[in-house]
Symmetry: C2
Subunit: 141 residues, 2 copies
């Protein structure tokens, strides 16, 4: 297996609502979107939206589940001030601010929003993790 993630697929309750949310956040739906799947190019990977029940069925697992999903997505920004601005953007687009922008113990500044289905996104300014011109985080080896 090569060390990469190709697609993050979010299970959603209402595809039109979620598509509108991510479009309001700056994602652009690809013309490859069709039927009940929406694809967004997200840098060198893809963010997809698919009905939650259908996603469980595709994975051959039961669709029941609630509470904390045990993982988060992060969007790292170039400047400290962007954190609060993006959280406000998410709230205006139909998301929910879960943790307001604040200084954090590791020396950065971050907050969390939840998308319309409760998927958690951290928005973080991390002075220890530089971003490339394209916005890719660049770890040391």
């Amino acid at each position: 297996m090569e060390p990469r993630i190709s697609i993050v697929t979010l299970g959603v309750a209402n595809l039109a609502r979620s598509r509108a949310f991510y479009e309001a956040m700056g994602f652009r739906a690809s013309s490859a979107s069709q039927g009940d799947i929406v694809f967004f190019q997200a840098g060198a990977m893809v963010l997809a939206l698919y009905p939650r029940e259908a996603l469980a069925e595709d994975a051959a697992v039961a669709a029941e589940g609630d509470g904390f999903r045990g993982l988060s997505l992060a969007h790292n920004v170039r400047a400290r001030e962007e954190v609060a601005a993006i959280l406000a953007q998410a709230a205006a687009a139909g998301g929910r601010i879960v943790k307001p922008a604040q200084d954090v113990f590791w020396g950065g500044h971050s907050g969390y929003f939840a998308d319309p289905d409760g998927h958690l996104w951290e928005v973080a300014w991390n002075p220890h993790l530089p971003l490339s011109a394209e916005g890719a985080p660049m770890l040391p080896p």
Copy 2:
């Protein structure tokens, strides 16, 4: 917000076990890993491992939750035969094959494994979604 995901952080019950699993899958831990966080460069993004309870605390949400997490990660491969091979690699590394490699209705070939904490990965060969030389999926605009 720029349309990109910087980091996917997986909450884990046993950091050493999960690090060993992902290393066996081909990921290489960055020297920026420290304490209870492990970072892997994953193409133009980062895969991180962090204790599940600490991740919930960081997001200021309750840690309770079980069942289907409502999302999946996908690893797209260049050749049909790689799907079964990677599922076998995951099983050998301490994961679980959730759905064996099989032809799927959209014309590809795919299967699912779960990592030691139950995080779902689809492994897919998708002839409709070309990969760049670096393995990045390339959607039409």
